[in-house]
């Protein structure tokens, strides 16, 4: 099964997204949340990202969801030393993307299908058309 790595600048943010995705999939998908700098402040910890990738790496691959660009850059830097790992970094919004990807992975989707599901989060309309007068 495809694994999902959540990388955010805050440990609480990463854990919260994992909690949500875990509930939606009844814990069936390997999901690891990495957040915060080494000292616990807001930031990115490259070694924690590397450890996280190793915990869920498999032949099926890993989809990485990030909060901001610098998180994606850190993951890319780690992957330069891990050429054998099958990893895709998603451009999807973090919360919706992690949710859609986790559910898709839970029904046996491939890494490519899981990545495509996450990206669909960019088209998600959260305000129903009937309430459009309040939509911005």
């Amino acid at each position: 099964m495809v694994g999902i790595l959540i990388v955010a600048h805050s440990e609480q943010l990463a854990s919260g997204v994992k909690e949500f995705a875990d509930q939606a999939t009844h814990g069936q998908v390997p999901i690891v949340a990495i957040g915060g700098a080494i000292d616990g402040s807001l930031g990115i910890n490259a070694e924690a990202i590397r450890d996280g990738l190793h915990r869920i790496a498999s032949d099926d691959g890993v989809l990485v969801l990030v909060d901001f660009t610098s998180a994606a850059l850190s993951v890319e830097a780690v992957l330069e030393d891990e050429p054998a790992m099958r990893v895709v970094i998603s451009n999807a919004p973090l919360v919706e993307g992690a949710y859609l990807a986790a559910v898709e992975a839970s029904v046996g989707a491939t890494l490519e299908e899981t990545a495509a599901a996450a990206l669909r989060a960019r088209d998600l309309m959260k305000v129903h058309p009937e309430h459009r007068q309040r939509f911005r």
Partner: protein, 101 residues
């Protein structure tokens, strides 16, 4: 649309009332979508309580965008070899999810 052989419908459909307090969102939507993947029939959903809602093929994204809140009526349609089983299982799942709350 019509009927094929006498007595054999070419489509199965049922209107179900959403009783889950959170509506068909987040976790219930994920459970519903995962259940649809167990069947081969083509499955669509429409929120008939919302006048602007159209019939949509089942995907997780479409389910989230149905805007199906508690009390709304949702039309589930399935067409294919296991259409009866699919609609029955999906209606039963919605009841089960509501009962678990």
């Amino acid at each position: 649309m019509g009927e094929g052989h006498t007595g054999s419908k070419i489509m199965e459909e049922r209107v179900v009332k959403i009783r889950h307090p959170l509506g068909l969102h987040a976790r219930p939507a994920a459970d519903f979508y995962r259940k649809t993947r167990e069947f081969r029939s083509r499955i669509t959903v429409r929120n008939i309580t919302r006048r602007s809602s159209v019939e949509l093929p089942v995907s997780l994204l479409n389910l989230l965008q149905l805007g199906a809140s508690q009390g709304h009526q949702v039309l589930i349609r399935a067409e294919g070899e296991d259409e009866r089983e699919a609609v029955a299982a999906l209606a039963a799942l919605l009841d089960q999810l509501a009962a678990e709350e």
